[in-house]
């Protein structure tokens, strides 16, 4: 459309930033007022958005909590070395020193046969049965804590295999299979939640987009007249964008209520379950940035959905 030629007089444009801010504030309030005029319809739309947001964010919070839990077990990825039965305490101490000197070992602690017996007696409740034995059946044990560089499940496993080669060591036990499984499960679930969040985010876009599209259709005549009297596209777009924003924010607030309520309902059973594992674990709702993400992401999605609808449909409305 633009052609070369002599410059022609431009139009005066109103660029007063204070006016601009004021107009945005007016638009924001007006859009909220329009939504408030149909409270039931607004609440329904916002609830759909809220549920769509609550589902992935609630699940994500759960996973986040589980991950924090497994993180605590990092120190538990220790290796137990059961020494050969014919090794006495002095030789066992020598083995301990050798192993402790390795660079991939942070700490090696010896449990002598007597200590092991005492502990066993105390913990197992088989004390009397032990008295019947004529000698201590327990081997000395060296507990190995891998150096922090070798603390991952894979590295620990490699270290364990390496230790297996010592003649004095009878049995190497690494008890991290279940930690690895839990890790794998949380990772899978996390990926699943991302996929779910993506899908439901798209759903929110479509919900807001469709709601705004209907609103644009309802106000078709008004848009035409506003264009006739010189309303810019930005002027026409603004109220719809604010509507999308409010839908998103309301949805996010509903989502937070749903998530907090849901986790609160789960709190009791989770604590009981944790109690069974001698853990004082409880669901923490507010540590991660999830809630903040919801509070920011909701309005952003609403805005984006409105923008989609507006950019698709406004251009088509032209006065005749």
């Amino acid at each position: 459309m633009k052609r070369r030629g002599p410059k022609q007089p431009g139009f005066r444009r109103n660029r007063n930033p204070l006016r601009w801010l004021l107009r945005h504030a007016q638009n924001a309030v007006a859009a909220l007022g329009r939504l408030a005029r149909h409270p039931l319809a607004t609440l329904m739309t916002a609830s759909v958005i809220g549920i769509a947001i609550a589902l992935p964010s609630g699940l994500y919070l759960l996973i986040d909590n589980v991950r924090a839990l497994t993180g605590n077990w990092d120190g538990a990825s220790s290796i137990s070395l059961f020494l050969a039965e014919d090794i006495d305490d002095r030789e066992a101490e020598k083995v301990r020193q050798t192993i402790a000197a390795r660079p991939d070992v942070a700490e090696a602690r010896l449990i002598t046969r007597e200590q092991a017996l005492a502990e066993f007696r105390q913990r197992s409740g088989f004390g009397e049965a032990l008295d019947l034995l004529d000698r201590n059946p327990l081997p000395p044990v060296v507990l190995v804590r891998p150096a922090s560089g070798a603390a991952s499940a894979d590295a620990t496993e490699r270290l364990a295999q390496d230790l297996q080669r010592y003649r004095e060591i009878d049995l190497v036990r690494v008890d991290l299979q279940w930690v690895r499984r839990l890790e794998a499960i949380t990772r899978t679930l996390e990926r699943g939640i991302y996929v779910l969040a993506g899908l439901l985010g798209a759903a929110v876009l479509l919900i807001v987009g469709n709601t705004v599209r209907l609103e644009i259709q309802n106000r078709h005549g008004e848009i035409e007249v506003v264009k006739l009297v010189g309303g810019t596209n930005a002027f026409i777009r603004r109220p719809f964008l604010y509507e999308g924003f409010w839908y998103g924010l309301l949805g996010a607030l509903i989502a937070i209520v749903l998530v907090v309520g849901g986790l609160w309902l789960m709190q009791g059973p989770v604590q009981r379950l944790a109690g069974l594992y001698q853990s004082s674990f409880s669901l923490d709702i507010f540590t991660s940035g999830t809630l903040l993400g919801v509070l920011l992401g909701g309005p952003l999605l609403g805005l984006a959905g409105a923008w989609l609808a507006v950019s698709r449909h406004l251009a088509r409305i032209q006065p005749e």
């Binding site: 633009k2 022609q8 264009k227 010189g230 002027f235």
Partner: protein, 223 residues
């Protein structure tokens, strides 16, 4: 003020709105555009208000070549051209006041200035006291006055009216025409499309007669 250089407009449907029109309207002039329906009256006005764009030739309004205005400029151009329609095009869920205030709101004018200007416009068209009414409660003539007030409230240098008296009886039509004559006296350039030859011939103003997209007769300034 307005200049057409061999302007043609062909609609996507193939219908020819204008087939080559050259026309010059001086600032402050009042011009009636007549002709049968389909002769190109509406097309002529739409090209000035940039409701349509010319397919050939050049349209100049207020010192600007409209062909060279981008889509972004269109709203600003329309603020300098007040438009009045046969069907009024009012917003029926808004009061008379809000309808008339619309061009000022769109232009980002302050609240007090809007109050003042809308009152003045209402006064000019004789509707003071009706600002709280909804358009639907007004008569056809009154609704047309609201449309006129909306078109002139932002004091545009150019006013376009497409069959402004189309639905009105002769008495009301004359009143509306009198309004336009008053605005013209304060220097507004006005183009009015109408087929009410009887009404306008007595006014002794310039008349441009269109036929099949061309100017068939132009009485010129001297008329």
């Amino acid at each position: 003020m307005i200049r057409f250089d061999n302007v043609a407009k062909r609609y996507p449907t193939g219908r020819e709105g204008l087939a080559g029109v050259s026309l010059e309207v001086a600032p402050g002039e009042l011009v009636f555009v007549t002709g049968h329906s389909g002769a190109g009256k509406s097309t002529l006005l739409k090209l000035i208000g940039l409701l349509e764009r010319a397919t050939r030739g050049q349209v100049w309004v207020n010192g600007r070549n409209l062909n060279r205005l981008s889509e972004r400029d269109v709203p600003y151009h329309r603020r300098e051209v007040g438009m009045i329609f046969q069907d009024h095009r009012l917003l029926h869920d808004r009061t008379v006041f809000d309808n008339i205030a619309l061009p000022l709101v769109v232009a980002g004018m302050g609240h007090q200035e809007i109050q003042r200007r809308v009152r003045a416009a209402l006064d000019k068209v004789g509707l003071l006291g009706k600002e709280r009414s909804l358009p639907i409660t007004l008569s056809g003539g009154e609704q047309q006055r609201v449309g006129i007030a909306r078109a002139l409230v932002s004091k545009p240098p150019v006013l376009l009216a497409d069959e402004p008296t189309g639905n009105l009886d002769p008495e009301l039509s004359r009143e509306i025409m009198d309004l336009f004559l008053q605005f013209n006296q304060v220097g507004v350039t006005i183009l009015i499309a109408t087929h009410d030859i009887e009404l306008i011939s007595r006014l002794g103003r310039r008349i441009v007669q269109l036929r099949e997209g061309r100017i068939q007769h132009d009485t010129g300034l001297a008329a």
